[in-house]
Every structure is written in structure tokens, then in C-alpha cells.
Symmetry: C2
Subunit: 122 residues, 2 copies
């Protein structure tokens, strides 16, 4: 099967669009491995709806599920999110450029205040 | 209007799902400001399709458009992507933990090779 180069990124970002799926990933970030029942408990949606979200996350490779006796354990698979973060990182220079300008402005203001103080003191 | 807390993130990730929209953002990262016509040229899709993608990007606050005479200039608005990157950053420890283990393994291998060499030399 030939995969188009963007397809994993497509699936990763699509999985992250939904706030419930992001909340599931955040919970798994804390918990490591957790049963589907435990995972579903805090949500105001029914178990089948949670299962559907887990299907999307599973298809995107962001969670794995394994049967442990009578329960299904869900585990975070964070690797695909690295590619998404690396993709976003190319825009980092815009934010750091803005921060640089802010620091330069603050320093200029400080220097000006220092000059005024020196003139007052003279 | 009360905005649900996830809504900007929802729009940002939704905008990033489509490879054409990601390609537009990457082009704008290089070009700064560019006309819609110029922007559309390298794509195998028609101008109205590009305009639709620009609508999605505009609604997510990722591009701004301004009329300059007879052309429309498109400019990158990278700020919302910072929130998306910050969201993904919480998973960074998983990747750096893996890197730490890899470094530890490489160092252990190196130490072992060193011990073997010392024993051979003795």
C-alpha cells in the first residue's frame, strides 16, 4: 500500500480537532494505562460515543487498546504527535521574533527611564 | 457571545487537517504576503477551491486577506498555531524520555566495549 506523505499528519490533526478526544489524550498523559470504563466515567457522553472517539484515536495511531481479562486497557501512543509538533515548529520563529521585539522594547524603555533619572539627579 | 474554551483549538486543528491548507501555510511562511493568484498557481486545484481553503484558514484566524488595488493579498497569521503547539508540547516528555533511554543505552554499550577492550589489553 502506498501511503500519501501527508496522510499520517492528516489523521493526527483530524484526531485532535475534537475536544473530547483531546481530553482523552490529556487523561492518558496522566494515567499511563486505564480501562475504557474508567476513561469514559468523567465524560457526559455515553460509552459507545467514547468508543467511537477511541476508534478515531486508534486509527490515527494515538492510542492502543489491549484486552486484559474482562476489561480493555487503553494506552497513549504519543509518537504521531511529535510529527505534528515538528510541523508547527516551523512557525516558532514568528513567536520568538515577537518576543525578541518585546524584550528590545522593554530594554529601550528601561534605558530611557535610566537616562531621565540620571538627568534628574544631575 | 460566549466561546467554548476549546473552540479556537478546534478550528486551528481542523484547518491543519487538509494537506492543501498546510501547503498554503508553508508557502506563506516563506513569502510573507502574496496575492491569491500567485498562491493558487502551484496547486492542481482551481481558484475557487483555493478560495474555499482560504475561507477555512481565515475563519481559524490563520491568514488575513486585504484588498490591494485589483488583487487580494494573503498574509500568514501564525498566532493560533502557538496554542496548538503548546497543547502538543505536554507530550514532549515522552519523546525526550525515549531519547534519554537511547543515550543511556548507547553509553552503556560504549562502556561495555571499553571494558572488553581493557580485558583484551590486560
Amino acid at each position: 500500500m502506498v501511503k500519501s506523505p501527508g496522510s499520517q499528519l492528516d489523521r493526527t490533526f483530524a484526531a485532535l480537532v475534537d475536544p473530547t478526544r483531546r481530553a482523552i489524550l490529556m487523561r492518558l498523559e496522566q494515567e499511563g494505562s486505564i480501562s475504557v470504563g474508567e476513561l469514559a466515567r468523567p465524560f457526559a457522553i455515553k460509552l459507545p460515543a467514547v468508543m467511537k472517539h477511541l476508534d478515531v484515536l486508534g486509527a490515527a495511531g494515538l492510542v492502543t487498546r489491549s484486552k486484559q481479562g474482562r476489561t480493555v486497557a487503553v494506552r497513549l501512543a504519543p509518537d504521531p504527535m511529535k510529527e505534528a509538533m515538528d510541523w508547527l515548529r516551523r512557525y516558532e520563529r514568528f513567536w520568538s521574533a515577537r518576543l525578541d521585539r518585546l524584550v528590545a522594547y522593554a530594554e529601550a524603555q528601561e534605558a530611557k527611564a535610566g537616562t531621565m533619572k540620571a538627568q534628574e539627579d544631575a
